[in-house]
């Protein structure tokens, strides 16, 4: 994969720490590349959605998908500062994650305009070829000089 500017990489790595909800979930930075980002949500007892099985809550996966989509958007927009808001987010849950296992997500911003970004994301627990969930999202981009 191609490199992103070092300054952006630093911002991307800090993105999960400066967002209170991402920090509360313990989201971890995995990687960033042009128009792509990857984050993971480690398994934690207090984030379980089904106490009978110990599987991580779908809500955690929702936030992980949304946040990773935001990272991919930032990686597509480059170093220009902007703020973003989710317009819509469609999530398909293919199967429950494995018990007591975290989830990793990769998102790709496959199209970005002056005002809108279109992003797809995939989430898996153990094997990338056996997905837990996929997402399709549109984001509005607020550029200061737009």
């Amino acid at each position: 994969m191609n490199e992103v500017p070092a300054a952006f990489r630093e911002i991307a790595e800090r993105m999960v720490e400066v967002t209170p909800q991402a920090a509360a979930l313990g989201l971890r930075f995995v990687s960033v590349a042009p128009a792509r980002g990857s984050l993971e949500a480690p398994w934690r007892e207090d984030l379980v959605g089904d106490p009978d099985t110990g599987v991580i809550a779908s809500g955690v996966v929702t936030t992980l998908l949304d946040h990773t989509c935001g990272l991919a958007m930032a990686a597509a927009a480059g170093t220009e500062p902007f703020s973003t808001a989710t317009l819509d987010l469609r999530i398909d849950y293919m199967r429950a994650a494995a018990p007591r296992t975290g989830v990793t997500c990769e998102a790709h911003c496959y199209k970005i305009t002056r005002s809108i970004g279109f992003v797809r994301a995939e989430a898996w627990d153990v094997d990338r070829s056996d997905l837990v969930a996929t997402a399709q999202a549109a984001f509005i981009l607020n550029r200061p000089n737009a």
Binding site: T19, A23, A24, E45, D50, P51, S58, G59, T62, A96
Partner: protein, 140 residues
Amino acid sequence: MTTAAAEQLEAFLSRVPYIRFLGMQAELAGDEMTAILPASPHLIGNTFIPALHGGVIGAFLEMTALAQLSVAEPTRRLPKTIDVTIEYLRPGRGGLTSYARADLRKVGRRIANVHVEAWQEDRDKPFAALRGHFLLRGED
């Protein structure tokens, strides 16, 4: 309000660790449930506005759908989410309490279709909505 529905709702809210992580609560009036998400610093996704994280909003809406299903179908196992579409209408303001109500559009033998709307100060100005399908009876 049936006792079974109230007990099922209470069981759902207290048993799921992630619900406690969010701080989500719910009230029942007859068979109408209102989910409540009190403001909390850890739910923030944008510190400048400040606004609730989009993922938190989606999760709150989805948990509202599951909670309403547990009230309507108290004898069934926890349904599984198949798919959800979340629409964001305006920022969910980080300092305000959020409310949500679910509308069970269709509850079949295996699948439920649920619409959910969330608002803060004014019910006529929802800040987010969800449409989703849920698999009942724990079938794969």
